[in-house]
């Protein structure tokens, strides 16, 4: 009854967790859009990962487990500080997005966009997306998680995840093409 619980060798587990520090921080930056909050969030994630390490099932995806902790921690923090209340109102976000997603008559060729987009422009465009869409496209296209893994991290159904990814990608594309159109107008004046 009072026997020692089975747990992974401390060094292996801890070292693996520490190995994910940089991608966790990059994700925290896009989640919070604030260095101090991102730093706090990563530290809290580490504390929880170490405290609840017994709940991690060896052989499963440690990276996905850590990202789930990161997103749960952030959701709790937003709830605690009652900030960005619309963030968790996915219905409202879907609604707003559908009205903004009008027909695009002029299209910049995809390859031109990809070649000419700078990291800084992309980060700015990403940060301008609604939080729910930004989280979904980041986890899918930057971190390459599956729909099911993302659904677990964000605590929403898979259908909602796919809808957010779709809206997020299209809005991002529109923001980048719009930014380029604006820049061209500015230059030609």
């Amino acid at each position: 009854m009072f026997g020692r619980r089975q747990r992974a060798a401390p060094d292996t587990f801890s070292n693996e967790v520490l190995g994910y520090l940089e991608p966790l921080y990059a994700t925290a930056m896009r989640l919070t859009r604030n260095r101090a909050d991102a730093e706090d969030l990563v530290q809290d994630t580490m504390v929880r990962a170490l405290r609840f390490r017994d709940r991690f099932e060896p052989g499963t995806n440690l990276r996905a487990w850590l990202y789930t902790i990161l997103h749960n921690t952030w959701r709790n923090r937003i709830r605690d500080t009652a900030r960005e209340a619309t963030d968790v109102d996915s219905e409202r976000i879907e609604e707003l997005a559908s009205t903004a997603d009008g027909p695009a008559e002029v299209e910049t060729p995809e390859q031109v966009l990809i070649r000419s987009t700078m990291d800084a422009d992309l980060k700015e465009a990403l940060d301008g997306l609604p939080d729910a869409f930004r989280q979904a496209v980041w986890l899918r296209d930057v971190e390459e998680f599956s729909y099911a893994e993302i659904a677990k991290m964000l605590d929403v159904p898979i259908g909602t995840v796919m809808s957010r990814i779709s809206r997020g990608r299209r809005q991002l594309y529109e923001k980048l093409t719009q930014a380029k159109t604006d820049a061209q107008i500015h230059v030609s004046r």
């Binding site: 009072f2 020692r4 747990r7 401390p10 060094d11 801890s14 967790v17 520490l18 520090l21 940089e22 991608p23 921080y25 990059a26 930056m29 896009r30 604030n34 260095r35 101090a36 730093e39 706090d40 990563v42 530290q43 580490m46 504390v47 170490l50 405290r51 605690d80 500080t81 027909p103 695009a104 299209e107 995809e110 966009l113 990809i114 987009t117 990291d119 992309l122 980060k123 496209v137 980041w138 899918r140 296209d141 930057v142 971190e143 390459e144 796919m162 809808s163 990814i165 779709s166 997020g168 990608r169 299209r170 809005q171 991002l172 594309y173 529109e174 980048l176 093409t177």
Partner: protein, 254 residues
Amino acid sequence: MSDCRLVTEQLTSYVDEQLDATPRDALEQHLDGCVSCRRAVARERGGQTVLRQHAQHLREEPLPPGLKSRCESLVHEHARAASLPGWRRTLVPTVLSVILLVFTASAIFSLATRQSDAVLAAQLTADHSKCFKLFVGGNPPVMDAHEVEEMLTREYGWKIHVPPSVDGLQLVGARRCLYADGLVPHVMYRAANGQDLSLYVLNGVTRTPSDLVTFGHRSQIWTKNNTTFVLVGPADESGRLVDATRYMMKEADR
């Protein structure tokens, strides 16, 4: 269901190449004759491709100084706790949980009794214990007071005077913490004898001066110019800590 609606529902799977052959062929047949859906596919594919092309760079966010070493300290601290005998290992998280529980309960209680200094002292004492346990660790680097002041202004918009380190008392950290009435700057110090002191600065709050002992910690509360200062430290002060406390009280509300 219209074909366009079907495309909308399957758009992400199609762009991610995760559709089976039969629905994919049906969707492509629809795309051949529908300009609007072709545009939707082009936009989604455009967003996806830009992100994937830049994914590696996006993941390379430089870590802020000190974050890695603090996380490594957490790992070492945890490994040390794990090596303790069973009953002590169980006690450490239990004590932390009790502290957090008291913090949460007192925060809720405080919504009804905002004027209670005892509740304020209990909350900040719990936060003091938690922050030193989780974020400072055994051998923290000494920080520059001006840099800390600049960080608090830059990151949180707070303009407060941070008492600098003196002989026998070192400034070791500053954080933004949560108590029942909102967010508050928390500045952390370590005395030469290893004991910890916390200074909280509550802007726009007025309290009558108090000196309380809660959970084995002493909280000294005073107000100046519509700002309340709370100094939390150990209840059993040694001679050096009395000096440190005097210095903090004199310096904080300058």
